[in-house]
């Protein structure tokens, strides 16, 4: 399970970086489709940590450590950032027809919102990875994983 989580997180990171510049990788159509799909994989990433989310949510003000609270708050901000990115991408989409999805506001408003939220979310992703760096390093210790010493 940890290996799956590791490769899922790695894929999310790579795709997120490729999405940062719409022109860099296979143009705007990749940007839009991958931007939509990444949301599903982000939810999957969170589902795999559902036990921790449940535990911290229930004991946020009583049992949880300061570190867990900080991680939780960061995850909430990441979720908000991702929702904002996807939501603001919908009115300015060019290859996918979202004309049925009326959000109002000028395209410029949504464009600035899309750019700013993605840049802020990338920084939050960096901080998120930094806080889980020990977990990432442990994934590279394949011998111990094979022997079942890691859970």
């Amino acid at each position: 399970m940890n290996i799956f989580k590791f490769f899922l997180s790695l894929s999310l990171t790579i795709v997120m970086l490729l999405l940062m510049d719409p022109r860099s990788f296979y143009g705007i159509s990749f940007h839009e489709w991958a931007g939509l799909i990444i949301g599903i994989f982000f939810i999957l990433h969170k589902i795999l940590d559902w036990g921790w989310i449940k535990k911290v949510t229930l004991g946020f003000f009583r049992k949880s450590t300061g570190r867990a609270r900080f991680n939780y708050a960061l995850d909430v901000l990441l979720l908000a950032g991702l929702i904002l990115m996807i939501l603001s991408g919908i009115p300015i989409a060019r290859t996918i027809d979202f004309s049925w999805f009326k959000l109002g506001g000028s395209p410029m408003f949504w464009r600035v919102m899309h750019t700013s939220s993605s840049l802020i979310t990338l920084v939050l992703f960096g901080i998120h990875l930094g806080l889980h760096w020990n977990w990432v390093v442990q994934r590279f210790n394949f011998k111990r994983i094979r022997n079942g010493e890691e859970n």
């Binding site: 867990a68 060019r94 600035v112 700013s116 960096g126 901080i127 930094g130």
Partner: protein, 174 residues
Amino acid sequence: MVKKISCLIISAAIITAGYFALGKLNYWERSVRIFSMNNTDQRFEGRGRGGFERPEGFRERSGRQVMRELPDSIRARFEAEGRRPMIRDRNIPDSLRRQFRQDGVERIDRGSFEGRTRDGGDRGRGGFSGGKKINLMNVVWFLAVFASFTVITVYLDKAYCLIKKRRNGKVNIR
């Protein structure tokens, strides 16, 4: 010891690259634009394509200045039509058109994805080539920013854990 020193050198290199990437991508200004939405919306009003800021004076250059530089006969024709000359106008002399094309190339060479010209293939709204083009230069800069924040967080976290360990005699690990 050697491992620790090499880790420190790599970390310093990543943070330095991240610092340069922040400047190159104009990261902070574009990040905080979300918080000054009213001003931004007015600034971008009517600019349409691309959604990103063009260099100051671009509009003036493509309008009034070009008008001044045009031969009298062509200027009279534009005035009669009640409009300003655009780059696409074929009646502009070749020398001026070439000058604009050079300006366009300069903007693209800066590596940013802001405000490319139509002559160069991409120009914001509707300007995406749509081809199978891979140019990961900007992605590398974004990676540098991402990695630098990761490295900073790792070291801050280590420092925090160390301080906490010294205070309490144990480290809280998630």
